[in-house]
């Protein structure tokens, strides 16, 4: 990479199309890509499958970019286009300014050996290799020596919390452990760009949450540029710096988690955002008004712009007195404090 490209986004996707079927490239060229919907319809009339339709976005260095969509929305195909596991039909994918769709096979291998790492939904562990050998495999491809490979592998295995299991075989591991190996392997060569294709979808909910947290910890220290695929809106909102929502091969909205929840662009996105506990994903800063002539003096709870609505509400509720609760006949049978009340609601949604 030359220095003049260092200001370029880590990944830039421009006008990317992936059309499956015989003679897709010719058809796409003939039809043209002025109007995405129209082009897709014409392609489908010819029996072709436009799996990714005119995708455009950028991922900044150190950003955690999540692509979310239902199964069949083209998100897995999209990540395979960016990593060039499938050959895109049209468009450009720039990694640090270099269009990798134009890269030679040799250059591509070079990139994969040094710059790219990928985690797969079903782990993709090599069944005939031990954990350490699996993790060290990309290093072996780099041509690293045996002892160097082992040392680095142990380092990454420790990072993902699998110390002591390095000589186990994949079949001896649980699902969560397997994906830890997958993560370790993808990090072995210390890549700049990290692709994760539904890495936690095949895991139990509890393990999933645990791995999500650990993944955030790892990212906090490593600061990779990440493309993360998921079909789970809660996962997307929890992890993402920005989210791209896909439907029928099209990216329909790109935004921060808050933007997605607050301003869904259409019913499809709104439908996703509906079941999301908004209180947890929106901050008080996003709903506050400018300071007018209102009474601001006095004892007020400590609110900060970055606070979630839930936390802010708890703080506010603490300023109220307890409220009596009556039975059917109007007799007071107990009382409730608004803050415990708010906490109980929050606890339920967690």
């Amino acid at each position: 990479m030359t220095d003049k490209n260092s200001a370029a986004p880590a990944i830039a996707v421009e006008g990317l199309w992936q059309v499956f079927g015989e003679g897709a490239r010719n058809s796409l060229q003939k039809i043209g890509t002025q109007d995405t919907r129209d082009t897709a319809a014409k392609l489908q009339d010819q029996g072709l499958i436009p799996a990714v339709r005119d995708a455009n976005f950028e991922v900044q260095s150190g950003e955690l970019f999540v692509i979310m969509g239902l199964s069949g929305s083209g998100k897995s195909t999209l990540i395979r286009c960016i990593s060039r596991l499938v050959e895109p039909t049209a468009g450009a994918v720039r990694i640090d300014g270099e269009d990798i769709l134009q890269a030679s096979d040799k250059r591509l291998i070079d990139l994969r050996r040094n710059k790219l790492g990928m985690v797969f939904q079903h782990f993709g562990l090599f069944p005939h290799m031990s954990v350490a050998d699996n993790v060290a495999f990309p290093l072996k491809m780099q041509g690293a020596g045996r002892s160097e490979r082992r040392a680095r592998a142990l380092e990454v295995i420790k990072l993902v919390g699998l110390e002591g299991r390095e000589d186990a075989y994949p079949r001896e591991l649980s699902g969560g452990q397997r994906q830890r190996v997958g993560i370790a392997r993808s990090l072995a060569v210390n890549p700049d760009i990290w692709f994760l294709d539904e890495p936690f979808s095949a895991l139990d909910p509890l393990i999933r949450r645990q791995l999500q947290d650990e993944f955030l910890n790892i990212q906090a220290t490593l600061k990779k540029s990440i493309v993360f695929i998921t079909h789970d809106i809660a996962e997307a909102l929890k992890l993402a710096d920005r989210i791209a929502i896909m439907r029928d091969g099209e990216v329909v909205q790109i935004g921060t988690p808050t933007q997605i929840v607050l301003n869904p662009i259409d019913d499809y996105v709104r439908e996703f955002a509906r079941d999301v506990p908004k209180g947890r994903h929106m901050t008080i800063g996003e709903v506050m008004e400018p300071v007018g002539d209102g009474p601001l003096a006095g004892e007020w709870p400590e609110l900060r712009t970055g606070m979630s609505l839930e936390d802010a509400l708890t703080q506010c509720a603490a300023t109220f007195e307890a409220v009596p609760v009556k039975d059917g006949d109007g007799k007071v049978v107990g009382m409730v404090r608004p803050d415990t009340f708010v906490k109980a609601l929050g606890a339920e949604a967690t």
Partner: protein, 673 residues
Amino acid sequence: MTLTRGTKAALIAVIVGVMCLVLQPYFAWLGKWPAAWTFPVNEWLSSGVGAILDLFKPVARGLSWLLAFPMDGASWVLGNTPWPIVIAATAALGWRLGGWKMALLGLFGLSFVLISGYWAQSMRTLALVFVSVPLALLMGLAIGVLAFEVPRFRGAVNATLDVMQTVPTFAYLTPLLFLFGFGPVVGLIASAIYAAPPMARNVLLGLERVEHDIREAAIMSGGTRRQQLLLVEIPAAGNQIMVGVNQSLMAALSMVIIAAVIGGFDDIGWEVLLTMRKAWFGQAFLAGSVIVVFAIVIDRMSATLATQRQHYDAKIGWIILAIGAILAFVVRIDPAEIALLDGVADVVDTSVGAFTAANGAALDSVKNNAMFYGLLPLRIGLDQAVLPFTWGFQWQPSYSLWFFAAAVALAGLCAARGRMLTGLTILLCAGILETGIADLPWPFVLVGVCAVGWASGGWPLVRLCAILLGLILLSGLWERALLSLYLSGAAVFACAIVGGLLGFWAAVSKTAWVILRPMCDLLQTIPLFVFLIPVLMFFQIGEFSAFLAICLYAIVPMIRYTRHGLTTTPDDLIEAAKSSGANTWQTMREVRAPYAAPSILLGLNQTILYAFAMLVIAALIGTTGLGQSIYLALGQADIGLGLSAGAAMAILALIADRLVQGFAEERRKALGL
């Protein structure tokens, strides 16, 4: 009333059959395909292929000369290594592969070979296997990888492998004989060619089944294509490839033994053939047992390769080998002098002799009843099979009329109750039984098969059937093909009924499966050739013996697949049936049996292919038809006849395969599998 495809097909067959029956007296060409309409295909093939083969002859002879070295080498090494070392090495290998169980299998297996007195012959057979298997594995691996890497080849390779699987074993031998000249090298090459397809198939299958994520992980790790293949995909497909190694070994062994008919190598297969010809059944039985033991040892040991293996300490292996070496120094007995089991052979001989003498009448009556009331009518029809000598009276033309009238009445009854297809099937069966398969008019067979093809796989299959059957008609092999069809058809029919019942029994009773399973395992391990020994012992040479040998070999898949189909019904289906109040029998009939149908059809398909494979081997003990032609061609080195008869056999097997596969596929689709 709308008719289903099957009903329409049966209706067409019935109409053509009736027309043939009525018009045959007026047009002789309807009955028998006139000789004037055939082409001298045999001569063409003889001269054409002969000329091509002549071109390759120098290369082949060179190859033959070259291969003689490793073969003689292996033969010399095995022949001159002291037997304690060979046995210890086998046991040590067994230990490494599968622990004590396999070590003991190796030890006892080879010890049996030693005391049988066939040590030298066995080592020669083993030498052939040792040289042919690596060749086969290399070829198979190369073909499999090539087919995987170049998708354009995949279809062609698969089709070729399909054809190779259906071409009968003997048919390979004639052109090979021509190319390589007499001698053991032909057996070697034949077995390498015969053993390569299973390897290629499993390599391809294994590579195709490597998980997508594993493949992509290798790419994303930055491996070159070669690194991906060698370091990830082939090892990840390891288990499937080892299944290929196992099948390849068994195929090689089977072929090496069959190739003994060429002679010239004094191996164990030759020994069986020789003793069988001399009717020394005790010795034939002993030599056959040696082959079976070999087959079991090789099969079970190589099967461990395909399972998740434990690690067995190499040291113990070395210790076993060391013990063998020490023994070799201490015990210096020439294996040729060890024939501890000759007594057993004599006992077998005398007791079989005594048994057949004592029960000769019973055995004869079994044989005659089966022939007179089963096989003969099927072959030449009731109109010719019913004689005073067989049934006690003479069939009259008027009986035929009555017979048909009864069939029509029954069919009408079925049709009236809405079972049109059953009725038509009854009519067809009656017609075939009256006429006999060997005497069926060719238009009926042609149209009938095509109609079934239409019901099974639509027009493409009709086209295939018509073209392939047309080829047989034009080649003049039609009558022999019908004879082959009759014998294999009878065997398949018997296997389908008996095997289906046994499979059903095994599915409902655990005890039954405990009894049947080792028998099935054994029958599937035994090389084809050995099946001839027991039937010969009791029923002498003849069609009935051939029929029995075919049934013994071909029944196994029917049992296995029927049981498998019936026992693998998903639990929730059975629970749903039970909670709807179905009893065991109703569950079986309404849920398990329909669910098992595709599996059972596949079993039938395998049974048919097995029957065709055995049919040719059974030619050794007296069958007519294509098998006999192939065997004769081998004896006379007649390439034209060998190839055309082999091709005709392959065509029959191929058509049967496609028809049944078509129905199985339709059932699978209907069940949404």
